[in-house]
């Protein structure tokens, strides 16, 4: 359904505007998700632990951290079996824009710092796991 919406919105608004809408929608969901599904903490390990469990329990995906340097504001995470894209046919571009926004809001809620998130590998481009680079906005 999400991608049917996306195709129609893209047809009317163009790719850039559609990406922006999906990113913001993901961010809104991420903010609400953090508020209602996670217990606030300042400990990164605890935050990741909670997030991994809830995402897995809800079948949203299997989150793994590859790198996390909060001082530099750089985080790389992967999401396997991503609800957003897993099982979709292969295309030649990353498609999890909604997830990018979702992850950015989670990180912002946790740290109080704004993050931009970019998907660099995606199931839809033939990868087995989706990989997201997050950078703090200075």
């Amino acid at each position: 359904m999400q991608f049917a919406f996306r195709d129609v919105i893209e047809r009317h608004m163009g790719t850039e505007a559609t990406d922006k809408i999906f990113y913001e929608a993901g961010a809104l969901a991420g903010k609400e998700f953090y508020t209602h599904m996670l217990t606030p903490t300042t400990d990164l390990n605890e935050f990741v632990r909670q997030l991994q469990k809830v995402l897995k329990d809800l079948g949203i995906g299997i989150l793994r951290v590859e790198k996390a340097d909060m001082e530099k504001g750089e985080i790389i995470v992967t999401v396997s079996e991503d609800l957003d894209c897993s099982g979709l046919p292969e295309i030649d571009y990353e498609i999890c824009i909604y997830d990018e926004g979702f992850i950015s809001a989670l990180l912002e809620c946790f740290s109080g710092i704004k993050f931009t998130v970019k998907e660099v590998d995606c199931w839809c481009t033939g990868d087995r796991t989706c990989r997201f680079n997050a950078k703090a906005v200075v």
Partner: protein, 308 residues
């Protein structure tokens, strides 16, 4: 110009040879001129080179090699990379004390790794308990090293340490300070008549009286046998004489109950006041001399060392 079937076979054989070399050789082969004209070959070659380089990088421990190719095989390599990078992160977390980390994506290795983490957690728990016990033991040991076991007050060594510090303080600030030296009279005959347990009870009684008479800043100790010392900071010899007399009188009138006996003991007390140039030894020596003066003059009395 149409190509002959023989040409196609030759080209296919060259292609196979080139790909075999790419898999087998330490240095990747150059693309033969004939193959550069084959549509898509250069891109395939680049992808294979990247896969080759990525596997080589991972095999030498470089997990950050960026694989930009897309598709099933590069995807599988990236999946392995993601697993290894996450494992690295988890190991860092474990090293920082987070023993809740578990691996669930690397087959038999996961089970071994998780067992190791559980064992590590258990060992850390035991180590923490041992550390707490050791700290507690050290505190007890330190206390034992400073305390006289019979009376529970400072022993000679720790009393000397405290007096040394006090000497430094009075040398710097020039405050008054006095020392009382106490010795129970005829202590040997108490031991001989009623036994050592009675003597011990007399020592504990004197200790209680000292504790009652001492102020917050005073400190005291059992120097050995039936000999005690008390330091009275900020007190001149006249003030110290009052304290010494109170001690003497209290002891004299205190009943020491032991078994069915009621004993009375007395003490001889010498008092000395700090004088410029005094060391701990000279200050104590004058108090000691005054105490022997009290003994010589009939015991159960206070004698003051002369103040120069």
């Amino acid at each position: 110009m149409s190509s002959k079937p023989e040409d196609s076979i030759t080209l296919a054989e060259l292609l196979v040879k080139t790909l075999q070399e790419l898999l087998a050789s330490r240095i990747p082969p150059k693309i033969p001129d004939e193959l550069t004209k084959v549509k898509g070959f250069q891109q395939l070659y680049s992808t294979l080179i990247e896969i080759r380089s990525a596997i080589m990088a991972f095999s030498t421990g470089d997990l950050n090699y960026r694989v930009s190719s897309k598709g099933y095989v590069p995807g599988a390599i990236k999946s392995l990379q993601a697993a290894l990078l996450h494992l690295t992160w988890q190991t860092k977390m474990i090293a920082s004390g987070d023993f809740t980390q578990r691996v669930d994506f690397m087959g038999d290795f996961s089970e071994s790794f998780n067992s190791m983490v559980k064992q590590l957690e258990e060992n850390m728990r035991k180590l923490n308990i041992s550390n707490l016990l050791l700290q507690d033991f050290n505190i007890q040991l330190e206390h034992a090293a400073r305390t006289d076991p019979l009376t529970g007050i400072n022993n000679r060594g720790y009393f000397s340490e405290l007096l040394k510090l006090e000497m430094e303080r009075i040398t710097r600030y020039g405050h008054a300070c006095t020392v009382l030296m106490l010795d129970i009279d005829h202590f040997k005959s108490i031991n001989d008549t009623y036994g050592h347990a009675a003597g011990d009870e007399a020592l504990r009684t004197l200790t209680s009286i000292i504790q009652e008479c001492a102020r917050k800043n005073d400190f005291y100790g059992r120097l050995g046998g039936e000999e005690f010392a008390i330091t009275l900071p900020e007190t001149d010899i006249h003030g110290a004489a009052i304290v010494a007399e109170r001690l003497r009188a209290n002891l004299e009138t205190t009943v020491i109950k032991f078994d069915s006996h009621e004993l009375f003991v007395t003490a001889s007390i010498g008092v000395s006041q700090y004088q410029a140039g005094d060391t701990m030894e000279t200050l104590l020596h004058r108090a000691d001399q005054a105490m022997y003066e009290a003994k010589k003059n009939g015991r159960n009395r206070v004698c003051l060392s002369s103040v120069g």
